[in-house]
Amino acid sequence: MNNYQEESKADIRPGEQDLLLPYDFDGIKELDNDPPRWFMYLFYITIFFGVIYVFHYHVFKQGLFQDAEYQREMALAAAAKGPQTDLEIVAFTDEDNLAKGKELYQQKVCYSCHGNLGEGNTIGPNLTDDYWIHGGSIQNIYDVLKNGVADKGMPPFKDQATEEQLLQLASYVLSLRGSNPPNAKAPQGELFNEQQ
């Protein structure tokens, strides 16, 4: 026999006697209390919510479904953005802008394909020599940053940075020319002549 057998007599408090149901399940008694009223109201309210929700979206067609929601979100964003402006593409040479460009070089993870010092690696070309695949002018570099080179895996950054930031980054890249970092990748593309 178990040590605990005797404890199975349930602890019934005053006033509960009348509510006790006649069954006994291994010593467990049940009271015939009604569920708390607020509990039932909560249940009815959630059912009511469900009905309203279905009617709102599917019968009266008042709510926006996800495609419509998306279109509205995009339209609002486009309206807030305003027209594109023209930026004059001239390389920055001041320290402040070049420092920002350097920061962007890290932030946009350029180093994963072009190396920490722009020396290039098995993915991307060397940015420090005089050979360029898509041209070496500030405009060329800016364009490549902006629109990317889809078939070669260079991503476009026009959705990630302002034109000014792109120009800062392009200027920084331009400033790396001739820096001769260690482990530089062999030149690719054509020799770019500044006077061109």
Partner: protein, 827 residues
């Protein structure tokens, strides 16, 4: 009253209890390991079977099916004998069940570690194990219903109702979610694809939570809580209401895992409204539990076992309020794919399931061994360690979730994503990941203390395998309802009728919420440009599944600006029709990969990048927490399975040409050679037969097919008159440069045309040769023919220069000019 002597089988209870403790500790240790892996990739040890993607399913399966599963069986085998006043129906079935279940767990751990997985969450196990589970589960059911049939009490107690409902529903769920076509002994494809697979999987996934982690535990609570508190259940009627409401409503809620995803709106509505309606039925259990303790809170203060129960039941109440909130679109838009889900399930897992299991074992082990608990003080310490562990786990998860979600969604004033680099949002929450490790350590420490306490208790006690009890002999009742007998009271003594109503509730809800998607084709928008996976891509996809990539990377861009800006066009249901199984994922520890293969897309990476990234992700990005996959580079791709895979896919309706399986490997090698050559050109030494080649092929397939038609959906913009034609040298040079980057790929550097685009230098034009026509063609493009609209990419001033340049080269007669196309236009 006449009585008879019977023997309760305590040995089977002891077996299951030991298994619960053993697998519980294993599951928690594995959980701690993956928490460490998320904090620092070092803990993946660059070893395939220890890497997160394979270990995470081991953790979830160990906790759900090994720890909680064995705990359910412990409680059911213990309480059912006592509630029904009978021994279990068959010793043989009991031990068959026990050993069968343990074998399944061991097989699950081994196969998952080796990468054999279906990738459907909590249903990852391959088909032979699925069959084994079905057999063992049926044996359990047979044993349970046999026991019910030979009971010596008239009425079934509420705990038994929950056991019956759990068994019935899990049977249905397991069978219908596991319909898969074998390719080999350990590889199969589910019959469902894409949207259907997602809906069936989450019908299963959610109800695995409901009918494995919830309803059996409510049954356990209804037995052990009143036993430990020695108090009567507060409300019998409440039990009836919340039982039937739970059984009926739970089934519908699956689609709340798929809000804002590529499933029909009305499915999402079902998911939302039924989840909200579930609040009260779920709370019914909590309220009945807590009100049973009414007037007995003095006991709770002193008794650690009751403390565990109170926290478990309260956490259940919190979790079942949080769940419906997360099922509304408003909250889901923020919490989905984040660590919120992880926090949510751990409140359920650690507090509700974990604490209730501990309290049950604290109650049960001393009784099985005829002794007192070795140390109440240790149990109290365990309680506080566990509670702190839960807090240190859950709070950082909620914090991380909100932080990361807001970062994902934040835009700058200029209209750019504030954190376009996904990594920034990961780095921000890494401290939370470390704090979670602390939470896990606390919880596990408590559990170890519990084990020591149990061992000491067992050592000081003496076990009686067959407990002798005197039980009254059952008097016979008429099968019909007696005068004055309440309808439900009658049902409680008619197990077959009772089970029938349970089945009816479950089946009705299941059929309405899933079957319409099986037959109605119009629910899936067809996308013509979508091609089946090439053999190499299919093999790559299976490696993606094997490595559990879906545990961290979703393939489901939701229709939010913050997601389309980050990942590309949002997902359409029609994209996934060849996806057996679907790979939408449920958590974004890394970025979404749905558009990873769109050239020029936001996430496109070259083969060389992928190679380097798989080899050493931290070399590509120091802060990355992605594990390294060096074995993909050294492993040779198994191409012996290609033909069988193509055959099964064809049989499932993927339109490969007849006899394609015979030539599939030739095509596979041709595509592999291309990728290998590209890598070789970049100075990477690799042969085409390696697994990484297939993986790269698959990643480059993602989103590629539908990239072009998606652009054509953009409505035609109003005609814009051509701007002034520029003729100055500088502008034309700029135009030339712009032409070189934007147009030359298809029209040749001099506009002479090539295999893709027409010659622009002759007088024949497909879309008109007037200045206005040319400008419009450049500006708005012809997406359906592959000519992109430039006005979305270029500024007006740039458009003007490009247009001026194009007009300037008409009649230049460059070498290698393409033959004229379109109609003659005289300028």
């Amino acid at each position: 009253m006449e009585t008879e002597r019977i023997h309760y089988d305590n040995k089977i209870v002891k077996y299951f209890a030991y298994a619960t403790i053993f697998w519980g500790i294993i599951g928690m240790v594995v959980g701690l390991l993956i928490a460490l892996q998320l904090a620092h990739p070092f803990f993946n040890f660059k070893t395939a079977f220890l890497t997160f993607g394979r270990i995470r399913p081991i953790h979830t399966n160990a906790i759900i099916f090994a720890f909680v599963g064995n705990a359910i069986f412990t409680g059911v085998y213990h309480s059912m004998q006592r509630l029904l006043k009978t021994r279990m129906y068959s010793n043989f079935l009991s031990y068959f069940h026990f050993w069968g279940w343990q074998i399944i767990i061991v097989l699950a751990a081994i196969t998952l570690a080796l990468g054999f997985t279906l990738s459907k969450e909590y249903a990852e196990l391959e088909w032979p194990i699925d069959i084994l589970i079905a057999i063992v589960w049926l044996v359990f059911g047979f044993n349970m219903f046999g026991t019910i049939a030979q009971r010596r009490v008239q009425h079934l107690y509420v705990a038994i109702w929950f056991y019956i409902a759990s068994w019935v529903t899990v049977t249905v769920l397991h069978v219908f979610n596991s319909i898969e076509i074998p390719i080999s002994l350990l590889k199969s494809y589910p019959v469902y694809a894409g949207l259907q697979d997602a809906l069936v999987q989450w019908w299963y996934g959610h109800n695995a939570v409901a009918f494995f982690l919830t309803t059996p535990y409510l049954g356990l609570m209804y037995y052990y809580l009143p036993k430990q508190a020695n108090r009567p259940i507060y409300s019998y009627r409440m039990g009836i209401i919340h039982f039937w409401a739970l059984v009926f409503i739970y089934i519908w809620t699956g689609p709340h895992h798929l809000l804002y995803q590529s499933v029909p709106n009305w499915a999402q509505t079902l998911g939302t409204v039924f989840s909200v309606m579930l609040i009260a039925p779920s709370w019914g259990g909590m309220i009945n539990g807590l009100l049973t303790l009414r007037g007995a809170w003095d006991k709770v203060r002193e008794d650690p076992v009751l403390k565990f129960m109170v926290v478990a039941v309260t956490a259940y109440g919190m979790s079942t309020f949080e769940g419906p909130m997360m099922s509304t679109k408003l909250v889901n838009a923020i919490t989905h794919f984040t660590d919120w889900t992880i926090g949510h399930v751990h409140i359920g897992g650690m507090a509700w399931n974990g604490f209730l299991t501990f309290s049950m074992l604290y109650y049960l082990i001393p009784r099985l061994f005829n002794t007192k608990l070795y140390s109440v003080k240790w149990a109290n310490t365990h309680f506080w360690l566990g509670t702190l562990g839960i807090l240190f786990y859950a709070i950082p998860m909620y914090w991380a979730a909100i932080t990361q979600s807001l970062m994902w969604k934040e835009f700058t004033e200029e209209g750019f994503l504030r954190y376009p680099n996904f990594m920034e949002t990961v780095v921000q929450i890494l401290p939370m990941y470390y704090t979670r490790v602390l939470g896990g350590v606390l919880y596990l420490t408590g559990a170890v203390l519990f084990v020591v306490n149990m061992v000491k208790t067992i050592k000081q006690g003496s076990f009686v395998a067959d407990e002798v009890v005197n039980v009254p002999i059952l008097e016979s009742y008429p099968s019909r309802r007696m005068e004055g007998e309440r309808r439900h009271s009658w049902l409680e003594r008619r197990p077959l009728q009772f089970t029938f109503w349970v089945i009816l509730a479950v089946v009705i809800a299941s059929v309405i919420s899933t079957v319409p998607f099986m037959s109605v084709k119009s629910n899936v928008a067809s996308i013509e440009s979508l091609k089946p996976y090439s053999p190499l891509e299919l093999q790559g996809r299976d490696i993606y599944i094997r490595e559990g990539c879906y545990t961290c990377h979703s393939q489901m861009v939701r229709p939010f600006r913050s997601e389309t800006e980050r990942y590309g066009d949002y997902a359409k249901a029609g994209e996934f029709v060849y996806d057996h199984p679907f790979q939408w994922g449920s958590k974004r520890t890394g970025p979404d990969l749905l558009r990873a293969g769109v050239p020029g897309g936001k996430l496109y990476k070259t083969a060389a990048w992928h190679y380097n990234h798989f080899l050493d992700p931290q070399k590509m990005n120091e802060q990355s927490i992605m594990p390294a996959y060096p074995w993909l580079i050294t492993n040779t791709l198994d191409t012996t399975s290609t033909a069988a895979k193509i055959k099964v896919m064809k049989w499932l309706g993927v339109p490969y040409p007849d006899g394609f399986e015979k030539v599939a490997n030739q095509e596979l090698m041709a595509q592999a050679s291309q990728i290998a050559t590209e890598l070789n050109d970049n100075g990477i030494d690799i042969t085409p037969d390696k697994e990484i080649i297939a993986m790269i092929a698959y990643l480059h397939k993602l989103g590629r097919d539908i990239a072009l038609p998606a652009a054509s959906e953009k409505s035609e913009k109003d005609i814009i008159p051509a701007p002034e034609l520029l003729t100055d040298e500088a502008s034309l040079v700029e135009g030339k440069n712009l032409f070189a980057t934007n147009c030359a790929a298809c029209h040749g550097p001099q506009g002479q045309g090539n295999a893709v685009g027409p010659n622009l230098t002759d007088n024949y034009w497909i879309h008109g040769g007037s200045n206005d026509d040319i400008f419009k063609s450049i500006s708005q493009g012809f997406p359906e023919k592959g000519m992109p609209a430039q006005n979305t990419m270029l500024k007006p001033s740039e458009l003007q220069k490009i247009y001026s340049f194009v007009v300037s080269i008409i009649g230049t007669n460059p070498p290698n000019a393409k033959a004229p196309q379109g109609e003659l236009f005289n300028r």
